[in-house]
Every structure is written in structure tokens, then in C-alpha cells.
Symmetry: C2
Subunit: 255 residues, 2 copies
């Protein structure tokens, strides 16, 4: 009988709390595999402290300083601690070989290239999504997120998103980015609805995590979400709908 994996995620004020596209990749991964887990909610200012305590390394540097990030997991069944969603996915594939594969044999190189390609299409999204993300955080995370993003962009977080005609132009770029991603899926249409055909893999959960992020930060009734829903013949709402069953985990350990 497996002990629940500890899954470190960042909370918010929205129902269910989960919102971060990066941690969603791991939440989806755990749910897809049907592995028992417990979420440990960590506010932004506590990520470094918690990371050091559980023993994960910085995933990046920012301004010359080590940068700690989530998702991370601690698996008490193997006494393993890991940070970064793709590494976690590979670990889960290897450690629990009888669960559905996030990286089917032979697909790792191509899936990693895919994640690069996908991220490169989202260049225009951040300026809209970061300020919106800030509005759903708890107070301590909000202050931290504001401070770090204002430093990066050199302006108040409320001023990061463009307005007027610049807004229209930049939002059109977001739409074009999603259009390119839709184009890839169209090329494989005969293979199935997912990036590797009939069954979802890590690539799909990466995409779904970003779409879900948009839905969570703007809300289902927002003009932004309604706009996204209208793109590519409704592809994106349908895409996350198809993976909806992996938004939640095994009932027995749901918290």
C-alpha cells in the first residue's frame, strides 16, 4: 500500500487553490497515474525555506541569486525528493512502471523539444497573465510576487499589461501563438486529439496546464477566457475538458 506522495504547490484564493501552470503539470501527472498524494501548500515567500528544508536545489538563478521554485515532491515510499515538473514526471514513470506513461518509450527527446516549442509560442501571454495571476494570490504571496515581477519588468504590476491599441496587437499575438499550437494538433488530427495521438502524455498536460492557468486567473466568465474559448474552433476548452478527469486525484486522499 503506497504512502501518499507529498506534493508542494502554491495556493491562491480561488476554489481548489491550484492555479500555477508549472505546478499543474505535476498535479495532472499524479492524477493521470492515479498515485495517492497530499498537497502541501507553500506561499511564495516560503518556497526557498521549504525547498532548503526538504532538500531540493535551486532550479535557476535570478539576478545572480539562486532561485527556488515549485513544483516539488517528496515520495516517502522511496525517500526521494525532487523539483521540476519534467524531472518529476520521469521519476514517476520510472518508479511506478505500472501506471500510465507520461513519456512513452522513445518520446523523451521529442517531448522536451515540444515543451521548448510550446513555450516559445507563449511570448506575448506573460504580460497579460502575470498581473492577472497576482490578483488571485493570498496576501503574503501577492506582496512577494508583486515585488519580484515589478523588479523584472521595471514597472508596477498593474502597468505590465498593455492597453489600447498595443493591447489589441499583443493579444493578437497570443491568439497567433495558440493558432500555431493548434496547427501542430491539426497535422496529427488523424492520429487522435492529443500530441501523441489517442492518449495524453506529458506534452498534453503542459499545454493543458497553461490553458487552465488562463481559465483560473481570469475566471470562466471573463472576456479573456471567452475570447480564448472562441479561438481555433473551440479547441482549448475542449482540450482541457478532455483532461478534466485528471484535474483531481484519488478520492481517498483528497484533502
Amino acid at each position: 500500500m503506497l504512502k501518499p506522495i507529498k506534493f508542494y504547490d502554491i495556493p491562491s484564493v480561488i476554489p481548489g487553490q491550484a492555479w500555477s501552470p508549472n505546478t499543474w503539470k505535476t498535479r495532472y501527472s499524479l492524477n493521470f497515474k492515479g498515485l495517492p498524494y497530499q498537497t502541501v501548500w507553500v506561499e511564495f515567500p516560503d518556497i526557498e525555506k521549504v525547498s532548503k528544508k526538504i532538500g531540493t536545489l535551486p532550479t535557476d538563478t535570478k539576478g545572480g541569486l539562486p532561485y527556488y521554485s515549485l513544483p516539488a515532491i517528496h515520495d516517502p515510499n522511496t525517500n526521494t525528493t525532487l523539483v521540476e515538473s519534467a524531472l518529476i514526471a520521469e521519476y514517476l514513470d520510472t518508479t511506478y512502471p505500472d501506471t500510465p506513461k507520461l513519456f512513452p518509450p522513445g518520446t523523451r527527446a521529442l517531448q522536451h523539444a515540444f515543451v521548448d516549442a510550446f513555450m516559445s509560442k507563449l511570448g506575448a501571454l506573460w504580460q497579460f497573465a502575470l498581473p492577472a495571476s497576482n490578483t488571485i494570490l493570498n496576501p503574503s504571496s501577492e506582496a512577494y510576487f508583486r515585488r519580484s515581477r515589478e523588479k523584472t519588468f521595471g514597472k508596477k504590476i498593474e502597468d505590465i499589461a498593455p492597453t489600447g491599441s498595443a493591447m489589441e496587437m499583443e493579444w493578437a499575438k497570443v491568439k497567433a501563438g495558440f493558432g500555431a499550437i493548434d496547427g501542430w494538433l491539426q497535422k496529427g488530427k488523424a492520429d487522435g486529439p492529443y500530441f501523441l495521438g489517442k492518449e495524453p502524455t506529458f506534452a498534453d498536460f503542459v499545454v493543458a496546464s497553461f490553458i487552465l492557468w488562463c481559465k483560473k486567473i481570469w475566471g470562466p466568465d471573463s472576456s479573456q477566457w471567452k475570447d480564448i474559448m472562441s479561438w481555433n474552433e473551440g479547441r482549448w476548452e475542449a482540450f482541457i475538458k478532455g483532461l478534466e478527469k485528471y484535474e483531481t486525484g484519488p478520492v481517498s486522499v483528497r484533502m
Copy 2:
């Protein structure tokens, strides 16, 4: 008994003539599948005329005008004419199902995303490789290629490649691009040497076509090629070496 497929390629002055990264994708594809073909060599100024004659459509527009390109094929066995390497690859997979697959089932969407990701890493290469390509063309293609690229870049083709410290900086970007591609392969190292593991697929032939291009335009003894060979622990020479048997086709129809 299959009749040879007509394969439309662009000639050059180097041994074997083939040099273009785009047409190499199709040459590799045909050889990988062991299909009989005959090369029809088409100089740049004749591409539009030949395309209209065989009935292929423009693949792009340039300056508001239709732009015709190669590779194209005419398959007399099915009376099919096609342009563009990925479309040709898919056609060959479908039409000759008993030959090795360029797009194994379920991999089309991800391979198309891969090609986008791969091309995005080559941004700094063109300024070096286009002028070098021009030096190996036959006179009529040289004049045409020079005219069209000088129009695009707004300078003499000999002046497109940067010099001095700018050259060093831009060449470092080329190296970084190859480094990123190597990074993807490293992630899948345990799966095999290719992008989908043990066997080459279309993604590998795309990459190999661009590496081969570098080797062909600069020559095996050039400083550029020696530099590329030294990157990523010799990955790139080894990569095309592993696919060398697909550089040539069935002996019976070799011309």
C-alpha cells in the same frame, strides 16, 4: 515492380550535386524507404516554370508574389505530384505502408512541433550559410539566388555574414542553438540516439539535412565544419554518420 519516382532537386557544383537542406529531407526520406527514384535537377530560375508544368502549387508568397519551391515529387505509380518535404514524407508513409515509417503512428503533431522548435534554434545560421550556399551554385542559380537574397537582406550577398567581433558573437549563437538541440537528445539519451529513440524518423532527417548542408557548403576541411564537429562532444558528425547509409538510394536507379 515500382516505377521510379521523379524527385525534383536543385543542383550545385559539388560532387553528388545535392546540397539544399529542404530537398535533402526528401532525398533522405526516399532512401530511408528504399524507394526507387530518379533525380530531376532544376536550377533556381526554372523552379517556377517546372512547378507549373508538373502542377505543384506555390508553397509561400514573397513580396506579394507566389513563391514556388522544391522539393517536389511526381510518383508515376499513383500519378501523384506533391511539393514540400513533410507532405511528401506523409504521402510516402501512406502510399508505401510496408516501408519504414517517417511518422510512426501518433507522432505527427509532435514531429511538426519539433520541426518548428528546431528551426527556431537556427536563427543565427542563415547569415553564414546563405552566402556560403551561393558559392557552390551553378551560374544560372547563383545569379538568381544572389538577386533574391540581396533583395531580402538589402545588401550584397558577400556582406550578409558578419565579420570581426560581430561574427564571433553570431557564431556563438549558432553554437548555442546546436547546444539546445543537443540538450533535447541528451534528455532522451536512454531511449536511443535519435529523436524518437532507436530508429530515425522524419525529425532526424530534418536535423541531418541541415548538418549536411553545413558540411556541403563549407566543405569537410573548412574551419566552420571543423568547429561544428567539435561541438557537443562530436554529436553532429556522428549524427550524420549514423544516417550516412540514407544519403544514397537504391543502386539500380542511381543516376
